[in-house]
């Protein structure tokens, strides 16, 4: 079993590294298309104007947007973990202030030993709803954050199981991909808002369509439509990506957590408790929802399986996760019972 898991782990790490790279490349390419597409539109619409009017020949829009995208992607990747933690209002536990925090530090250190990882930095989110997430780029530099509510709700074993799940994400480098994605989702929303504002000020070509009217080149109209649609759906695409990337990972991290604790039933009961407390976690925003152990938005789709849920939820249905963990737990009990009998 261990041999398969470790082989699987290596592949998983590689896949996550590769996917992170593609994500960043895709992000830059998308903005390059937005920029150069805009240049082509302006070029075509100014090409047959009178010679003394403005002709758009140098694609400065494309170059500028591509450079901005590269800068944003680099910055997002570098500061992703800090941004995610900052957005939740988490504070780092350096010197445990009370018994709860001391227990948390102990549990995280125990799980780091079980997972064979360096001790991650530990954060507490001041929120009453139970939830937890992990972030970072490398196991060397990773962060685990839990809400105050989780500390209050869970027993020691359950807390251990939740931390085991999070360290599973750290160990197979899910955190790198998911954190980068969270940062890029945030960046896209920000850029779109900024661009929307400058469009309203009328400096972008979409405002000047009326001058040409019916006599315009149909190519321009098609390009323009495509271009505007791209702007509108960019945030949607990134969010769909966030969904697609995180669902399978939750099952895998559940399994890894169970492997670290050798106690799948504790994670099952922790998930049950978290689900029953399913108030939305106010401190965790939409952009980083896919990082959490349970959907912080408390969406109804997460509670069912089905076509729609498969496409819209960041997390697999809780009931399925719990059922799988219980299956593991009973298999283990049966095996141990068989040994002593």
């Amino acid at each position: 079993m261990t041999a398969e898991v470790s082989l699987n782990l290596f592949q998983q790490q590689e896949a996550n590294r590769r996917r992170t790279t593609w994500l960043v490349i895709g992000f830059v390419l998308f903005f390059a298309w937005l920029g150069f597409g805009g240049d082509v539109i302006i070029y075509l619409s100014t090409a047959d104007d009178a010679p003394e009017r403005y002709h758009h020949v140098f694609p400065f829009l494309g170059i500028a947007l591509t450079l901005i995208a590269i800068g944003v992607a680099w910055y997002s990747y570098k500061t992703g973990p800090q941004k995610v933690l900052w957005a939740t209002g988490a504070r780092e536990v350096i010197d445990p202030a009370n018994d709860q925090e001391r227990q948390l530090v102990n549990v995280v250190e125990e799980m780091a030993i079980a997972a064979g990882l360096p001790r991650p930095k530990i954060w507490v989110i001041p929120d009453e709803d139970p939830n937890a997430f992990a972030t970072g780029h490398e196991p060397r530099d990773s962060h685990v954050a839990v809400t105050q509510g989780l500390l209050a709700l869970c027993s020691r074993d359950e807390l251990q199981a939740v931390i085991g799940h999070e360290l599973g994400h750290v160990k197979n480098l899910d955190v790198r991909l998911m954190t980068t994605l969270a940062a890029l989702v945030g960046a896209i929303l920000l850029i779109r808002d900024g661009m929307g504002r400058s469009m309203r000020h009328g400096r972008m070509p979409s405002g000047g369509g009326g001058r040409r009217g019916k006599g315009g080149n149909p190519l321009i109209a098609v390009l323009l439509a495509l271009w505007i649609v791209s702007w509108i759906i960019a945030p949607l695409i990134t969010q769909l990506l966030a969904l697609a990337v995180s669902r399978r990972r939750e099952y895998l991290a559940d399994a890894m957590g169970a492997q670290f604790t050798r106690n799948p039933l504790a994670l099952a009961s922790a998930l049950e408790k978290i689900e029953h407390a399913a108030a939305p976690t106010a401190a965790i925003r939409r952009g980083s929802a896919h990082l959490c152990i349970a959907d912080p938005l408390g969406r109804r789709v997460t509670s069912r399986e089905g076509w729609l849920a498969d496409r819209l939820a960041t997390h697999p249905p809780m009931s399925m996760r719990i059922a799988r963990l219980k299956g593991m737990g009973y298999a283990q009990l049966k095996k141990e019972g068989g040994l002593t009998a």
């Binding site: 041999a3 018994d99 227990q103 125990e110 079980a114 020691r156």
Partner: protein
């Protein structure tokens, strides 16, 4: 001719990869073993504090305390002596004895509510639970890594380079006697203090 060359390159690449894989597993195994040592040391350092904290309140349970102190000193001694042909077996025996003595002590402490109420004990209990868990998890990681290492060096294609990598089966860290297995796990019965 070209076919031969390609085959030779593939074989050499495989030998290098398999050799490096074994070496990396070997180092992981010895590193995991050191982790157990670190955690055992932590436990040895913790016990004097624990004993001091409960000594006053538990005059009539002296034998339990003495058993802990003795088991601890024995474990420290065995650890310090190191070496020896079956050092690992001896260390694990001494540590298992210490685990048994400690869990008996914790059962006794549970019987004194006023002792637990003094705060200090609550913290020490958490520390002890954590230390026991750390040892258990360090052992688990070592055993998993060692099993992987042993399996790898015995499985067919890799076994051909096992001699070159000077690989030998790694000993597992086991609980020795059946009585040890039967000791109730005190950690599990401890209620969370929230």
């Amino acid at each position: 001719m070209w076919v031969l060359l390609v085959v030779a390159v593939v074989v050499v690449a495989w030998v290098i990869a398999a050799y490096n894989g074994l070496i990396s597993l070997k180092n992981q195994t010895s590193n995991a073993f050191k982790q157990i040592d670190v955690q055992l040391k932590r436990r040895h350092d913790l016990i004097p504090n624990l004993v001091n904290a409960v000594k006053g309140a538990m005059d009539f349970e002296r034998s339990t305390l003495e058993a802990v102190v003795q088991a601890r000193n024995q474990a420290v001694k065995v650890n310090a002596s190191g070496g020896g042909p079956d050092a690992m077996k001896q260390i694990s025996q001494a540590e298992n004895a210490l685990s048994g003595a400690l869990s008996r002590l914790m059962v006794v402490v549970e019987r004194y509510p006023q002792l637990k109420a003094t705060g200090n004990i609550g913290q020490l209990q958490e520390e002890l639970t954590s230390t026991e868990n750390r040892i258990a998890f360090a052992r688990q990681l070592y055993n998993d890594t060692a099993t992987l290492y042993t399996t790898k060096q015995q499985q067919f294609p890799t076994t051909l380079v096992a001699g070159m990598a000077q690989a030998s089966p790694a000993e597992l860290w086991e609980l020795e006697d059946q009585a040890e297995r039967a000791v109730p796990q005190v950690e599990l019965s401890m209620k969370p203090r929230t």
